[in-house]
């Protein structure tokens, strides 16, 4: 994965830049010694690393504005960073950039149960947003797997999803407003505690713009009352096709589960060896969870189980208690860890129409044999969001490149069958060069034109999302 060559003229500005940043920030908020900037050299896409020129840790919107104004005046690129959990390299620095980390901005500013929103600083972690309202039985719905660590800022940048999106939507459906700083230091307020926008839906285009349009410092988030309860049913099938049909039939029957999770045989076996959750040894396994009171859950599970029986499951285990629920979820929640025990892995998140599930799984199996790399599939089946985990050995020369080539083939397949490159992780650098498979040049041009409006000099996270060749003229201007 190429990154632009650092600009020597920008590197030469470092002493003056540090001096100016220290004028507007406390000493401990400006990190510029080489030994210390290394802490920011990568995000969760650890295969790529590069320490930034400087890292800054502002505590207020005003400080963010000062930082951006200075960098704008000096022509220095800025890479915003939440908690650095991006799997796509969204927060990967270049050697000539400033990393702007929002981690110190983690306060809850306003909690309003009557109007059902919470306003937080953007460095607050996803799970701690729920943590701030759970004593009143409320929660914040988007729940990416990294929710213990990931920041709301990053969630907004990547429009993060999670396991419960089928019912509750993704970040953009739960985001009501932001305070955002533009690259020139201008602070803008968009949306708030009311619904919808007058004029153009700027909030809609900011969410998912991967830190390229502005730095979000505060967010108004919709909070929901917790359901009375939730319980899953586990079902095993002897083919992926049948499991896929079962998913489709459940959805067609009018039941809207809060989650439908799918695991294939390689993943079931790895998980079972690791977590011993008592999963059946079968081709495909579904975990379907529904919410409500006990009686409501029974009503829905009864319908789901009746549908599952028509597909001759090899196993059908309906949870009757919190203990049983925990056991059913244990394997699914350990799946990534289990695969990680076997080898290094790369996790993709292409999305496909649910109807294409069996075909895509079959093709991934064939490609796995062609490439000689094992792959396990565990994913959100209700919304077609795949998560193939490709196993490789990072210490074996050439294995990473082989794995990336295999991953690219899977993502191209997702696009071919009517899906997309990324359902919730974002493009970052990882899928940047595959964008030409999903978009025609004009489709990319109109997106880049949006960045031209918000950040005319292309200083914010400039080497991400768009193929470098496509964005080159704009970055050089």
């Amino acid at each position: 994965m190429d990154m632009p060559t650092p600009n020597p003229a920008i590197l030469a500005k470092k002493p003056r830049l540090v001096e100016r940043l220290l004028n507007v920030l406390p000493n401990d908020a400006v990190i510029h010694l080489e030994a210390e900037t290394r802490a920011y050299e990568c995000d969760a896409l650890t295969a790529y690393r590069c320490p930034p020129m400087v890292a800054v840790l502002p505590s207020t919107t005003q400080e963010v504005s000062d930082i951006l104004r200075i960098c704008h005046e000096m022509g220095v690129p800025v890479v915003p960073r939440g908690s650095g959990t991006s799997l796509a390299g969204g927060a990967l620095p270049t050697a000539d950039c400033v990393i702007l980390g929002v981690a110190r901005m983690n306060a809850v500013l306003e909690t309003d149960y009557e109007n059902r929103f919470v306003r937080v600083q953007s460095g607050r972690t996803n799970l701690s947003v729920t943590g701030a309202v759970q004593e009143n039985d409320f929660f914040y719905a988007p729940d990416p797997s990294s929710q213990l660590a990931c920041a709301i800022a990053g969630n907004i940048a990547m429009n993060s999803g999670g396991a419960h999106c089928l019912k509750y939507g993704v970040t953009t459906n739960n985001l009501m407003g932001v305070t955002m700083v533009l690259m020139d230091g201008t602070v803008v307020e968009i949306g708030g505690a009311h619904l919808d926008a007058p004029g153009l839906d700027l909030l809609g285009v900011i969410c998912g713009s991967e830190g390229q349009l502005g730095v979000v410092t505060e967010a108004t988030l919709r909070i929901l009352r917790k359901p009375e309860g939730a319980r899953p049913v586990l079902m095993g099938f002897d083919s992926n096709e049948v499991a896929g049909e079962c998913v489709s039939d459940i959805i067609k029957a009018g039941v809207l589960p809060v989650a439908i999770e799918f695991m294939d045989r390689p993943c079931i076996r790895a998980t079972e060896a690791f977590a011993k959750a008592g999963y059946p040894d079968c081709e495909a396994l579904l975990i379907v969870e529904v919410e409500g009171s006990d009686a409501e859950i029974d009503e829905q599970l009864e319908k789901i189980v009746a549908i599952a029986r028509r597909h001759n499951p090899v196993e059908l285990r309906e949870s009757k208690s919190a203990d049983e629920s925990a056991r059913i979820w244990l394997g699914r929640k350990s799946a990534f860890g289990a695969m990680g025990q076997i080898n290094d892995y790369m996790c993709l998140d292409g999305t496909i129409p649910v109807s294409q599930l069996p075909y895509v799984l079959r093709r991934i199996g064939e490609m796995s044999r062609e490439y000689g790399l094992d792959v396990g599939n565990v994913f959100h089946a209700g919304d077609g969001n795949m998560h193939p985990l490709i196993l490789f050995d990072a210490n074996k020369p050439g294995d990473l490149e082989l794995c990336e080539a295999f991953g690219a083939d899977i993502l191209r397949l997702c696009v071919e069958v009517g899906g997309c490159l990324t359902g919730e992780h974002g493009v970052g650098i990882e899928k940047r060069d595959l964008m030409v498979n999903q978009f025609a040049p004009d489709d990319l041009d109109i997106q880049m034109a949006v960045k031209d409006v918000f950040d005319p000099q292309w200083l914010l996270n400039p080497a991400k999302v768009f193929p470098l060749a496509a964005s080159e003229a704009r970055r050089a201007a």
Binding site: A193, H194, P353, D383
Partner: protein
């Protein structure tokens, strides 16, 4: 009126035009009269392209009549969840509402409070920009973060940025049963409090409206057993009577109490608990609250500057119906702050570099047409 029969023809028309065009679908949601503007109708682009019930997905050409989409979905036990309002009764328009019009105006009804707006269910768009380029964004899958989300930007853009040619939606199952809990005798403030309590309960209320003089209405939908349980729980919490059937919600959705009679109609989006205070300041002739109080419909005597009367307030007020002299005085949409207006104008210049999309939200252009 120009009515292209294909996306390619649409692109040719736009690329070749030398004069401003006003885009319409079925023409049922126009607030500003058409005047002498050259109309570009999307109604020639019609038909459902794809409906996969098992994937909860529907794709249709932008000019497809809404009733055709509703019928196709209902045949599979599904619907557009955001409950788009029909503007014909309120605006006195005739014609056939189209799915493209729903998207262009981001039209949502009472269920918006629980499930989200039209923009939240829109998965993908194809459109032609002001340079005549055919563009696409999003797709047909439910989770998609590939590149910028121009799908949201196009929803509610009211023809400022391009002409929609195809739209893709996430749809949801129709409920087995729908009932309404009716509370009587609450004043506005007490009604908003009751609606807030209901919406903050775990009982998934899918509509919360207050119609002064008629009552306060809370809708519960789902499987029969579940609806019975939830309605009983809510009733225990708030009192009231349970009413079967859904006719009431079509009236609330379409603001039926304001159809007859004259006067300006305003629509205000606010934080629900701010609503009663704003209504008190507005001095309206009639009021209807939806979205738990977050959406206020007002009927005012003609020509009053409502925004000035209720200022300062957090939210936005939209003029939905008025006579020519009022329309000439006030912008349809709440003016944005200067920095947001600059961003919006910048986007418009990128999507429509020649300034050929003469939208009704632009007072100068509308007046010129």
């Amino acid at each position: 009126m120009i009515t292209p029969q294909s996306e390619a023809e649409l692109a040719e028309v736009i690329a070749a035009t030398k004069e401003p065009l006003r885009i319409i679908g079925g023409g049922t949601r126009s607030v500003v009269p058409m005047g002498n503007a050259t109309l570009l109708s999307a109604s020639g682009l019609s038909g459902i392209t794809l409906h996969e019930p098992g994937s909860l997905t529907l794709v249709a050409q932008a000019g497809t009549p809404l009733e055709q989409i509703d019928a196709a979905l209902a045949a599979e036990g599904q619907r557009l969840p955001f409950e788009p309002m029909d503007h014909r009764g309120l605006l006195g328009t005739s014609g056939t509402p189209t799915i493209g019009g729903v998207v262009a105006a981001n039209v949502s009804g009472p269920r918006r409070i629980q499930v989200g707006a039209a923009r939240d269910f829109l998965l993908g768009v194809r459109f032609v920009d002001g340079a005549g380029r055919i563009l696409k964004n999003g797709g047909r899958v439910m989770k998609n973060v590939t590149g910028y989300d121009l799908v949201k930007l196009m929803a509610g853009s009211r023809g400022r940025l391009g002409v929609l040619s195809e739209v893709a939606f996430k749809v949801l199952p129709l409920p087995e049963v729908s009932v309404t809990l009716v509370l009587k005798g609450l004043n506005d403030a007490a009604a908003v409090t009751a609606m807030s309590q209901a919406l903050a309960s775990p009982f998934e209320v899918t509509g919360a409206a207050h119609w002064p003089g008629q009552g306060t209405f809370l809708r519960i939908e789902g499987f029969a057993g579940s609806v019975t349980y939830r309605a009983a729980q809510l009733r225990e919490m708030l009192g009231g009577e349970i009413e079967e059937g859904a006719q009431r919600w079509a009236e609330i959705r379409d603001v039926a109490p304001f159809h007859a009679g004259k006067g300006d109609i305003w629509r205000i989006s606010v934080k629900p608990t701010d609503a009663p205070g704003i209504v008190a300041r507005a001095g309206a002739e009639a009021v209807l609250y939806d979205w738990g109080g977050g959406l206020i419909w007002l009927r005012m005597a003609p020509g009053i500057d409502l925004r000035a009367r209720i200022a300062p307030f957090q939210g936005h007020a939209t003029l939905v119906r008025a006579d020519a002299s009022t329309l000439a005085k006030f912008p349809l949409e709440q003016p944005e702050t200067e920095s947001l207006a600059t961003l919006s104008a910048g986007l418009r210049a990128k999507f429509d570099p020649r300034g050929i999309f003469a939208t009704e939200t632009d007072p100068l252009r509308a007046a010129a047409s």
